[in-house]
C-alpha cells in the first residue's frame, strides 16, 4: 500500500499446513542503521528511509537480523570462468517458526535528520508514522488494513 507522498506499508500473510521457519527479507539500498529490535534506516544521497518490521500473529515479534551476501565456491565465478568480485550487499531478516505469520512493514521516506524511531506502535492494532502535521495512522484490525494520512485514506480487506 502506497500513500502519497512518502509512505509504504506492506502486509505479508502466511498460512502453512505445519510449523516451519518463515522469513521476511528486505534489501536496503545501502548499509543500514539498525535500532533493535524492529527499526532500521538507510540513507542514500541525503534521502532517508525509516522502517519498522513487526510480526503480528505470534506473541513475540522477532528482532531484525543484519546479514551480507557472499558468493560461495563453487558458485563464485561468472559465465566465462572469471572470479566474481564480492559485493556483500546488506539484507535484513525477520524470521519466525510457526504455522502462520503476519509481517507488517512500515516505511517512510524523509530527511536523514528525522528521528530513528519514526514509526511508533500505539497498541496491538495501531501504529503511527511521522510527526505533527504529517502523521500517518496505520491500523490492522477486523479484517482490514487502513492507512490514513493528511491526503486521504486507503483501506483494504485482508482476511
Amino acid at each position: 500500500m502506497h500513500l502519497l507522498p512518502n509512505i509504504v506499508v506492506v502486509l505479508d500473510d502466511v498460512q502453512l499446513l505445519r510449523r516451519e521457519p518463515i522469513r521476511l527479507r528486505w534489501h536496503p539500498g545501502g548499509e543500514p542503521q539498525i535500532e533493535f529490535p524492529h527499526d532500521f534506516r538507510v540513507v542514500v544521497d541525503e534521502v532517508a528511509l525509516s522502517a519498522k518490521v513487526v510480526e503480528l500473529a505470534g506473541e513475540d515479534s522477532p528482532e531484525l537480523i543484519l546479514g551480507h551476501h557472499a558468493y560461495r565456491p563453487p558458485y563464485d565465478h561468472d559465465r566465462i570462468g572469471n572470479p566474481m568480485p564480492q559485493r556483500h550487499e546488506p539484507y535484513l531478516d525477520a524470521t519466525v517458526h510457526g504455522q502462520k505469520a503476519r509481517f507488517l512493514s512500515l516505511f517512510a521516506i524523509g530527511e536523514p535528520r528525522a528521528p530513528m524511531d519514526l514509526c511508533q506502535q500505539i497498541d496491538s492494532f495501531n501504529w503511527c508514522i511521522g510527526q505533527d502535521d504529517h502523521q500517518v495512522d496505520v491500523q490492522v484490525a477486523s479484517g482490514v488494513l487502513s492507512v490514513t494520512g493528511p491526503n486521504g485514506v486507503w483501506t483494504m480487506a485482508i482476511d
Binding site: 500500500m1 502506497h2 500513500l3 502519497l4 512518502n6 509512505i7 509504504v8 506492506v10 505479508d12 502466511v14 502453512l16 516451519e20 521457519p21 518463515i22 522469513r23 521476511l24 527479507r25 528486505w26 534489501h27 536496503p28 539500498g29 538507510v42 542514500v44 544521497d45 534521502v47 528511509l49 551476501h69 558468493y71 558458485y75 565465478h77 561468472d78 559465465r79 566465462i80 566474481m84 550487499e89 509481517f103 516505511f107 521516506i109 491526503n151 486521504g152 486507503w154 483494504m156 480487506a157
Partner: protein, 91 residues
C-alpha cells in the same frame, strides 16, 4: 516486478530518485547454475520465504494480483496471491 527471477511479490522503494529498498539486479552468472547465485534466487529478493524453499517461477506457477486500486493523488495498493509459486510440488 519480475525479470525471469523468482521474485514474485517483491517490491522496491525509491524516493527522490534514490534506491532505498532495492532489487540486486543481475550479474553474469552461468545460466546452467543460475539458481545457485543469490542475484537470481529467492535469497536475493525482498520477499517471504518458507523453510528456505525457492520460489517457483515457471509459467504454470505464476503469482496472481487479486485486487488493486490506484489514484493519482493518493497512491495505490495491490494484493498478490503467492500460493501457486510458493507451494511445494507433489513428488
Amino acid at each position: 516486478m519480475n525479470h525471469t527471477h523468482p521474485d514474485a511479490g517483491q517490491i522496491e522503494i525509491h524516493g527522490h530518485a534514490r534506491p532505498l529498498i532495492v532489487d540486486l539486479g543481475s550479474v553474469p552468472y552461468p545460466d546452467l547454475n543460475a539458481r545457485c547465485y543469490y542475484h537470481f534466487s529467492s535469497e536475493g529478493h525482498n520477499q517471504i520465504n518458507v523453510a528456505g524453499r525457492p520460489q517457483r517461477w515457471d509459467l504454470e506457477h505464476e503469482a496472481h494480483c487479486t485486487h488493486s486500486a490506484f489514484d493519482d493523488e493518493l497512491g495505490g495498493w495491490w494484493q498478490i496471491d503467492l500460493l501457486t509459486c510458493t507451494s511445494r510440488s507433489r513428488t
